[in-house]
Point group: D2
Chain length 351, copies 4
């Protein structure tokens, strides 16, 4: 079958890769119908060359179950599914606590290719994929939904949702979301659904800010107005209740700390490649009694609440799709996405 393969920085190729096969009784094999390029894939595209090449990319995909191992109890051939980007075994002490990102078994066995470039498990920018511990890592797509509507449950929709959750966004809150890209958009949507009275959307792209405004956010371009002053003005001098960094820029983490009020909450969901980020513990976190959280997404914890919101029409995740292409043109997809033009939000590929 065909897949997009990593050969180095800016050298991705659509080529023949091995067909996925059941290797363990908990595995499933999925025939892929939709697969997306994630912002974190761009870290591999732009980043330092990895020591290993030749692996298949992609961790946002779904399709139809083609085969299941003997111990898989919840799924069978023919089921329409999307796949969690973070895999867990479902039974270790971390998975029992719903902390799938800490699963030791999966860490040992490999995970889908992501920002860390873990090459042990072939990714899903391909015509098919093997999914380990299928009962834990597959999500059934209800009949009422098209596959594209459920596709982002694999990663970025739960990531944005987690951003709002980690920042404890709630009823009547004012929240500042740094970034109006795909993850930022979903963090804004999740904040609104959780009851925020005011979502302040920060970005440098005027077009993106315009769309944020259409979504009911208050746009803020820090190149044009003073970030801190504007937030204070909007919050009667108090500062925001919460802030979400959804881009991955160290200075924005400090800005997030800066704009929240005493007792505020800051979450970081943008991928930061810097080893360490200097943070004002005393004058920022301590003096303002802040809660600060960062996290890897565990879609398993969000599907049960997100699915009905999509089914009931309170959320339409397809709003971020700007480009649709065949998988065969996947390299062009990467090029378009990497150019970061303002009107490129999300590229979905169809094998």
């Amino acid at each position: 079958m065909k897949g997009i393969v990593y050969h180095g920085q800016e050298d991705f190729r659509v080529e023949d890769v091995a067909d996925p096969k059941i290797q363990d009784e908990h595995d499933a094999v999925v025939r892929i119908e939709k697969t997306a390029i994630c912002g974190s894939d761009l870290h591999l595209w732009h980043g330092d060359p990895l020591p290993i090449t030749g692996f298949t990319l992609g961790h946002e995909f779904g399709g139809v179950v083609e085969e299941v191992g003997s111990a898989v109890g919840r799924f069978q051939k023919g089921d329409r599914v999307v796949v969690s980007c973070t895999a867990g075994c479902g039974q270790c002490s971390f998975c029992h606590r719903h902390l799938y990102s800490g699963c030791q078994k999966v860490a040992a066995a490999g995970a889908f290719t992501n920002v860390f470039g873990n090459p042990l498990l072939p990714g899903g920018q391909a015509e098919g994929a093997r999914v380990p511990f299928a009962d834990t890592n597959l999500f059934r797509v209800p009949e009422s939904l098209g596959l594209e509507q459920a596709l982002f449950l694999t990663d970025i929709l739960p990531t944005g949702t987690m951003g709002a959750e980690l920042a404890e966004v709630g009823f009547g809150d004012t929240v500042v979301v740094f970034g109006c890209g795909p993850v930022g958009t979903f963090a804004q949507r999740a904040s609104q659904i959780r009851g925020a009275a005011m979502v302040i959307a920060v970005d440098l792209h005027e077009g993106r800010l315009e769309r944020a405004k259409e979504r009911g956010c208050i746009p803020l371009n820090p190149a044009k107005e003073d970030l801190r002053e504007r937030v204070l003005e909007l919050t009667h001098g108090e500062g925001a209740d919460a802030a979400i960094e959804a881009i991955g820029v160290p200075s924005l983490v400090r800005d997030a700390i800066d704009v929240v009020r005493t007792g505020g909450r800051v979450s970081v969901i943008g991928v930061i490649t810097a080893d360490e980020v200097p943070l004002p513990i005393m004058s920022g976190l301590m003096a303002k009694n802040l809660t600060f959280r960062a996290g890897l997404v565990m879609p398993q914890n969000h599907v049960q609440s997100l699915m009905p919101l999509i089914e009931q029409g309170r959320l339409d995740p397809t709003e971020i799709i700007t480009h649709r292409m065949p998988l065969a043109d996947g390299v062009a997809g990467y090029e378009v996405f990497a150019a970061r033009e303002e009107d490129v939000m999300k590229v979905v590929l169809t094998p």
Copy 2:
């Protein structure tokens, strides 16, 4: 000045009452511009005659501060305010915990007339009122809002909001709200704003169900379809995550327990006059590991989050007002409200 005075069952009269005066250094006197008739006032209208008569009714009102005692720090003459129906002293151990309904000092000193008919503190269906512990029990109305928009912060908007809070309504939940009257309407709105994917609105009035549907709820008339079966059908056989009783009928409390799933939450905000309600502890609450809560509203705990939601336009509390009259016609207002015609939701009086 004029006020509506209790003289017995269905015998309320607009007559001259004493002008309010500062009696304690923490008091404020408010000149009333808007005052509403609450569903709980009807318990007095319809209920057994009370042993005491001659007191002024009303606990949903607002206006302009006319005078403040020497210890009042947050308000001054001329401030536009609405008044909390539950008063607290602000300093006892209960008030410190934000449990104003448990305030011993206010219990001893009297409270606004309400369902319990406490006559010690004259009510607010009048041209003015004295408000004890003004710093704790007055809420400032922002310039951007009209008084009517803030009026229901005195009682029923926080009551509906509390219903959703006590039932822990959250992101992606399905919630059943019993009642589409003023409190039920606000419980539905609060549930939506807190992130419910599906709000099932239960009522016997088709017109009210129709309006609930327009608000995005799923209407359910238990006279026309089986309540439990319909809820199970809408929730894939699981039952609802939460249920809110917003009318005050004992059998509906049992229905609320019946329609939620294992691990569900039930709140009761409707006023129940029965001494005791038989509940299925073993087969209902215990077998399903439920959380059950009831409560008196403490508007002080909700204003800080509700006010920005109103200011930002996510919530328009005036949607329930169906009748506006002068205070002088207040008895007619009671008669209209007591008739419980389907299209009567809320009567607002203007002195």
Copy 3:
């Protein structure tokens, strides 16, 4: 093998029963080394005759794994284990939410015999037992612990712990625990470990109250002093923060509501056989803004925290064992336990 078999009210017999066998790939067979008689077994001993007889009793047991089905991943022959009294499949939507008591699959397939007398799954007052969904329902006993120390993790230790959790007992709280039997004892211990400043232990047995006092509780015999007055006296007139009903008597549920303060929490973990219990919703739950919870235990949710407390010596569950007998004398064990003499707390049987 031998087991204790139900033949009707006060007619239990030790007799030959079928050997347990693997019937499903998720099963395990356990050779039983310790098994206990639970207070809820007494409901069967004393209760109305059930329509079905001939089933093996018992749901508090542990021993050594003898065989596992092919899909069992976490356990193997030779592992020392105890068994959860509430079984879950581990994969349905309820089990995913850690609400094992709501598991539909197990409800359909049967559960260990308990107060409900469900006879579909042979119980553990026997020399061996089949355990369904072993990965979810077995708990490994650490080498540092004897089997008796872990035995009550099967049911009553998590039940008492859950009582404190449902009543949200916390740092500095005053809590009233109704009952000083095995479950009450553990509810008191759990309350102390969660940080209660004062645990008021209520019972009619002076000997049990004496032992509660030795555990650091304040004893209260409602036959000798007024319950409500004494609690108010101990709490500076405020009432307790929380109350736990650990016996199963309807009037004590009302007492629990009566002794807590505004904003208090009440949990019911005692088994109540009455169909319905009349509760003061308006004057009790609503007027005091209470949280009320009841629940079936799900040991799976407590083992991860209880095990280290036992290992570190903060908790010694064997303190309640007053009688040890061979399984062959199990009927005598029931008779001793059923007599409810004050100094009989827990009977442990050894096959």
Copy 4:
């Protein structure tokens, strides 16, 4: 009266200072009977010279109310009290949320001298002090307690307690506490009372570790054994559930992040004078889905739970007092404390 006055680095003097007087109707004047030297006072002793000199030091003190302003409602002359080190006005939007450290009114009006050297409000290492907003910032000492038992409610006991709270230490947890000084000791005690199964106490002083062991902690000297390896060994390879930094050393904050498990919580209560601390957001906080909190203590939020724990004897805060001296010898007290000999924990001065 006499007080200890700041004249520069290592230049503190006992000298005559102005008598405290009521300046505002919410003030109280307290005659001081006990006052302590705090670790944060040492930052002033050792630190860079401040631009202002001549102010009275001290923020851990208590005594007897001598006079109250006209608006003070909860206290009167003769009441035994201790004083909160963090003052709030009690009425602004931050105080209403119990976020006294964010009180704008007090920030504007000055606060007791602390690590920041704010000189506007004379401190309490003196014979008396004026306390602003007395109703909010005084705590009554129950008759059953001596003043020394309540003295540390002013600052370090709530600080240690807050450390455990911010790290969400709970039932069955393993927690690593960095530091066995006064604050660390209280963080360990609070962790135990909140239900930790294992408290790992980290320090370089063997004597302090020995005393931590006597308190039931597991001592760990990172100069003698590898911190991370030892924690992993004690936690079956998982890492600790929580960690509390109670010293104020940037590298220990990173160690705290390093020793907790996926899903763990880290709190910082040690005072860090560095402007910024480099933290591993990606590899530490994000990869492990951590919660990170720092905070200034607000004793108002802890007294209601700590007082009964002291009264019931679950906690004896005087355990840390190693030196008692007259106020007149206060400079010697600073010298002893500043030498940081292992057996010096806390110096209490008596005017």
